[in-house]
């Protein structure tokens, strides 16, 4: 397959730009709200393209360290969730809390960066 241009990020930027600068100011009420939500959703995908690969590797490394063995990220997350539910990890364990906070902050850098700025 040849390299496809323009790249996804360029398409998204163009779509966001149109919606935000041209369409949104022309709308009111219900459709204005829905348009704003649509812009937010596209911006999330835009940030995910940029940030998610690095986050995934870092989270997998932290999970492997916390659980004491390597594995795929989804499986390690499942194992940690199961261990927490079973009471096998103390809820005030600093390593656990640090990992959870780190993972949530990374997700928020994609989903809603303002949440961690405010």
């Amino acid at each position: 397959m040849p390299a496809i241009k323009p790249e996804p990020a360029v398409l998204l930027d163009a779509a966001i730009d149109y919606l935000e600068r041209e369409l949104l100011p022309a709308l009111a009420g219900y459709h204005r709200f829905q348009c704003r939500v649509t812009v937010n959703v596209l911006a999330q995908v835009r940030r995910e393209l940029l940030l998610a690969p690095g986050h995934a590797d870092a989270e997998r490394a932290r999970l492997a360290s916390l659980l004491g063995h390597p594995g795929e990220r989804d499986e390690l997350n499942r194992e940690l969730a199961t261990r927490i539910r079973a009471g096998e990890v103390a809820l005030d364990d600093p390593a656990l809390l640090e990992h959870l906070r780190h993972s949530l902050i990374e997700a928020l850098r994609i989903n809603n960066p303002k949440w961690i700025e405010e």
Binding site: R32, V37, V41, L96, S103, L104, W115, E118
Partner: protein, 335 residues
């Protein structure tokens, strides 16, 4: 005829039947907000007067509450609850019409329209509310004391939900999705290990927060959205008001507009009972966990075959917000 024309015709027939001729509907506007209910604002001509009204409809396919577990309070039940609330001194909407099956508009009510602002961000930042903002937390405290005095006689449809019952509901909701989140498990376990011991039980609003209040330059004018009302621990309502999600960018914990102390003190004065801040904080923390699961339930509805409209799927991407707030609360980092 467009869908909108057909809707307006139905609504005019409803007004004429319930309130009187001619029933002409003017200025019909669909309002934003309300992911479950559809809200319309309109003026109705009845006799020689024009009435400012609100229609809240729950289309039959949406008769499921955000927590997915109960059907919520609608129609005639909602009208009875609002009447009882007004008798207790709560500024609740005044119901003019309860939709009947003949009306063909789903379940819902028509209430008198109260002027004011409902958008949390505007209430927290608008210059016109600058003077009243510092008084809102105390007003909420007094209003909640009145909510908790509502006489439950005749309101048998209000089910009892203890913290333990709610935990079971939300645990089941988490288990319905194959989406294991360690932070969510942490939250559910913390709630299970910190359940309040033998709280008193009364009528609670269930969704008392900034965004569900009509605020004017004189303060809180009306308390909206009673569909999650039930009998339970009154501290739930105080904690839910403080959940960070409902602060809409405001710097202060109670609704973004006020201090916890003002809320608690006004509640104590009006109710005659003490407020234990740790007990309220339990409900604030549980509120974060509940909101995370509501986000999951709404946002992942497409997995159950629901239509993935943009507002719904976007809520799915908000799961991490309350989970981080929860961690901040239980580790003492929260404001």
């Amino acid at each position: 005829m467009t869908e909108r024309d057909a809707f307006q015709n139905k609504l005019e027939a409803v007004v004429a039947r319930h309130l009187g001729a001619p029933g002409e509907v003017r200025e019909l506007v669909r309002l934003t907000g309300g992911a479950t209910k559809v809200t319309w604002s309109f003026d109705a001509v009845v006799g020689t007067t024009t009435l400012p009204l609100i229609l809240q409809q729950t289309p039959p396919e949406r008769l499921v509450a955000p927590d997915g577990a109960t059907t919520g309070i609608h129609g005639a039940h909602e009208a009875a609850l609002l009447e009882a609330a007004r008798r207790a001194g709560v500024p609740a909407p005044c119901v003019r019409i309860v939709l009947s099956p003949d009306d063909d508009l789903g379940e819902g009510t028509v209430t008198e329209r109260v002027a004011g602002e409902t958008l949390g961000r505007k209430i927290n930042t608008g210059a016109e509310f600058a003077a009243v903002r510092p008084t809102l937390a105390a007003q909420c405290g007094s209003i909640l004391a009145a909510v908790h005095r509502i006489d439950a006689t005749g309101l048998d449809f209000l089910v009892e939900q203890t913290a333990r019952d709610q935990l079971a509901t939300y645990r089941a909701l988490a288990d319905a999705y194959d989406h294991p989140l360690p932070a969510l498990e942490c939250g559910l376990r913390w709630v299970a290990e910190n359940l309040p011991r033998a709280p008193r039980t009364c009528v609670v609003h269930g969704d008392f927060r900034n965004g569900n209040l009509i605020v004017g330059e004189d303060g809180v004018r009306c308390v909206l959205d009673w569909e999650l009302a039930h009998r339970g621990d009154p501290m739930l309502d105080l904690g839910w008001l403080c959940v960070k999600t409902w602060r809409f960018g405001g710097p202060l914990p109670a609704g973004g507009f006020g201090h916890r102390d003002d809320l608690f003190l006004a509640y104590e004065r009006a109710s005659g009972g003490p407020v234990d801040p740790a007990h309220v904080r339990f409900w604030e923390a549980f509120g974060c966990v509940k909101w995370a699961l509501m986000c999951m339930h709404k946002g992942l509805g497409y997995l159950r075959g629901a239509r993935g409209n943009v507002e719904a799927v976007a809520i799915g991407r908000r799961i991490e917000e309350p989970l981080l707030d929860f961690l901040d609360l239980i580790t003492g980092k929260a404001a």
